[in-house]
């Protein structure tokens, strides 16, 4: 056999004995791992963003009171201590574009009439998608894809491959949820157990005092929020501002603008604003100058429970 023919037979052998078995094995194994991974890990932890996104899109819990917001919501609201049936949809790293997505999805559930609790941050309504891994599982759902915007990648269409580079994040959530080593977890809430040493907290306070904080509302987001509220008069929207450390207010330059916006919300019939931003909490109640730790969260939930009683029964 001459070299040319040998080369062709070698190529055929490569296709038959290596490439095809490799491709077949990768596809089968990939689909199998993907199925198991999605069902056991991606959706296996109630505190993961992917679970929360999937829950708001695909599950209907008629009497559930939903808590929305950023990490301040996730690390503050303990549904079991506040309401009979509730779930904390707060996600760390996100901002109000995602909160509005959650609100939108919640309001689509026309059979529901439960109040909605929204954490309000004093930096105003802004954009931040947070971790993209929260959306990959549902990335083919149009509103999620729109929300992801430029973060959307074609690879999200391929089973297993779509999680390339983010597998560990899901496992991290899963392990945190199952073993509760560093966090207290319950119905979507995920609250840091660790208390900072006085020195470390002092350093954070110094850092905060040296910085400037703004209330900065994106007009598109605030218009969208108002539209959602106005078009869902059967639902009560309860805006809660959990406590900030007093150092936060030292560099807060336009607090009056925040008050103006909150007052405009209060004027809407189906809106309640519960402002605890300046409630008296001591240093050891805080994880940092804008987030409570578990000790602070338990204390706050007792206070909030009294206020929510009037609206969530």
């Amino acid at each position: 056999m001459n070299q040319q023919n040998l080369s062709i037979s070698n190529f055929n052998r490569f296709i038959k004995q290596l490439l095809l078995p490799y491709a077949a094995a990768c596809i089968l194994l990939g689909l199998l791992i993907n199925y198991q991974f999605e069902n056991r890990i991606v959706l296996g932890s109630q505190i993961s963003g992917s679970y929360k996104v999937n829950r708001i899109i695909n599950e209907l819990h008629s009497s559930e009171i939903a808590f929305f917001g950023s990490s301040r919501a996730e690390g503050t609201f303990i549904p079991d201590s506040l309401v009979k049936e509730g779930f904390n949809y707060g996600m760390s790293g996100i901002q109000d574009d995602v909160v509005l997505f959650f609100l939108d999805e919640e309001c689509r559930k026309s059979s529901k009439s439960t109040p909605i609790v929204i954490n309000f941050d004093l930096d105003g309504l802004n954009y931040s998608l947070g971790d993209v891994s929260s959306y990959i599982y549902n990335s083919n759902y149009k509103p999620v894809r729109q929300l992801m915007d430029s973060s959307y990648k074609t690879i999200y269409n391929f089973p297993l491959l779509k999680y390339y580079g983010v597998f560990e994040l899901y496992f991290k959530f899963y392990l945190t949820d199952k073993f509760n080593l560093t966090k207290f977890v319950s119905k979507g809430a995920s609250i840091e157990k660790n208390e900072l040493t006085a020195n470390k907290f002092e350093a954070l306070v110094k850092e905060r005092l040296a910085s400037t904080n703004f209330f900065n509302n994106d007009p598109l987001l605030s218009a969208k929020l108002i539209t959602i509220i106005k078009s869902n008069t059967n639902r009560k929207f309860i805006f809660v501002i959990p406590p900030y450390h007093n150092s936060f207010f030292k560099g807060f330059v336009n607090a009056n603008e925040a008050s103006i916006f909150l007052n405009s919300l209060k004027k809407l019939n189906n809106v309640v604003v519960l402002d605890f931003s300046k409630a008296h909490f001591v240093d050891i109640d805080f994880l940092n100058t804008s987030h409570l730790n578990l000790r602070g969260a338990i204390k706050f939930n007792r206070i909030l429970n009294d206020s929510l009683k009037n609206y969530c029964q």
Partner: protein, 467 residues
Amino acid sequence: MLFNSFEFLFFFIIVTSLFFAIPHRFRWILLLLASCFFYMFFKPVYILILAFTIAIDYTAGLLIEGQKTAKLKRIYLLGSLVANIGVLVIFKYYNFLNDNLTEIASLIGFKNNLPYLDILLPIGLSFHTFQAMSYTFEVYHGRQIAEKHFGIYALYVMFYPQLVAGPIERPQNIIPQLHKRQYFSFDNTVIGLNLIALGLFKKIVVADRLAVYINQVYKDIENANTISTMLAVCFFSIQIYCDFSGYSDIARGTAKVMGYDLMINFNKPYLSQSIAEFWTRWHISLSSWFRDYVYIPLGGNRVEKWKWIRNLSLVFLLSGLWHGARWTFIIWGMLHAFYLIVEIITKNIRINLPSLGTFSRPINQTAVFLAISFAWIFFRAETFIKAKLVIAKLLSMDFSLNISQISAEKGPFNLLLSFFCIILWFFIKLPKYKESLSRNLIFLIGITFLIITLGKGESAEFIYFQF
């Protein structure tokens, strides 16, 4: 273009398929164009530097070979060296020299008015310049005939698998292979794909994972303790090995699929029992370059002891400088020279020491690993001050079991994953082709899934690209 990117995956499939689809006489054109594209993916304009050195060395090769007298040959060799080293000096060392000149001038009350060049270092400059220089050296010594085919010569310098981070090849190994007609071979393809898979695993799973921890500790060294610093220092030894040998594996694998054999660049260096042995196993293509073109011409070890020490010091000074225009690289090089000198001086004493039996091997290996890891501190630290801080942390004897300090910013899960990846790396061995096809297939599938599930998503650059 990064080997650890989807772009490269498509590039590799297209170039390799076309390579076997077109007649042999056109393949050099395909490979040359592919290499240009590969290089220009980083910064297109720097292809001109490559074109300049290729033209100079191609002409120098022909001129050296054509001369009857040694004097004229030497003149043309010098001309080629000046051009190559000149390019290195301008693009890599000028600003470093300028900074140092400014320091010295200010010490003696003068002002340095030389301008600062605002230029980016062309990727892999030291690699392809040294490869080009090895050609003129070999032609000068009569060990290689000057290449008449300009395209083949250009391909020798630019062959994309080893263009930006080696191995630094010798013309005797590559040029004849570029002339030879290559046929598709099942064996070569399996061996090549295995090498690529292993290289990607080393880079994406091990090196990039360890980088997360190392970067955090080095970035926030003030808050590290002795345990976290020790971990970061030892991790860096593994990171740099997996990063660089991973690149070499991918380069060798990519070339092997097309039928080309590149030299082995790493041979289990951390199993060395002495620093001298380490340098026969680590970055073999560079250490042999310095051995052949600097150390031996200076007399090597066949000279008086002090000259031997001088030769070693000079080689390692140059080796440090080769890596980068920074004092930390020079200290790293000199530290290795110091280790070797200590080995030479204490050789007779060590021979007379009582043997430790079966323990001597692991003890030597551990000692060598720790010495090398210590030297890597200067390689990794951006500044001498940072290196000093790292060493101070190591010596502070703060062994407090503070989880947040030990696990650094990304937490215990990342640290556990780092250990898991090291264990995987330890156990994963390249299958011997002759073992069985199914074993090779399982290896490829297994590595694919390990990369997908454990790989760091972002395509991080290879450390040695900067050199």
